[in-house]
Symmetry: C2
Subunit: 144 residues, 2 copies
Amino acid sequence: MPNTARWAATLTLTATAVCGPFAGSALAAPEPGAAGLYAPSALVLTTGHGETAAAVTPERAVTLTCVPKSSGTHPAAAEACAELRVSGGDFDALTGRVGAMCSKQYDPVVVTVQGVWQGKRVTYERTFANECVKDSAATVLFAF
Amino acid sequence: MPNTARWAATLTLTATAVCGPFAGSALAAPEPGAAGLYAPSALVLTTGHGETAAAVTPERAVTLTCVPKSSGTHPAAAEACAELRVSGGDFDALTGRVGAMCSKQYDPVVVTVQGVWQGKRVTYERTFANECVKDSAATVLFAF
């Protein structure tokens, strides 16, 4: 390869290596995120007493952000993000809390999750027989 | 009052004073909040290029919490919360940015807001002709 071509190739490679991660192109991540570097993940979780979200006044609401770092008003944001990553963002595939003992009392609580998980919109609603069952359905995600 | 009754009354009053704020009852605020003291306000805002949220992949998503203090991944959380308070949580009543100069280019962006504002569920969607119009529709709320 002539020297000029070699230099050009080297420069191109260097530019790609240096600028690639910041280019916001499809190279870095499946979808551009808040800074063009990652797909956004930002959620609001609510809970309230009742059977359906439509009929329930949300009593508590927390935020959860998982990239670039775990944050939000969720009381255990880091663990909640870890749980979601393990389940691939599938709220029905969360691993319940081991050894939880809940009564069978029927005092339903409904949880909603809305927002975006890894670039995809999330609209989730699930009703639990009581608060204990809700808190135990995931290790920490629903315990807020 | 016999001594026993007086003691019972004192104990009841003490228990009410100590436990009241944590009881999640309707005494403290119009609606119980994250700590039973205020109505929750926690939102996720998204934006993406296109005409309707259903057809758009969210490119950016930020969280916004306004009580007990402003927080979240919104780049100007405190100002965004102040704007929402002024508008009474009405996303159509926000005051636009003064002196914004936007082109008439049609490159639509859609903003969604979901979650809870002062204890009430929020589901809001609005399409703007272009990014500049979106950013100027409110002082800071939609500029993320």
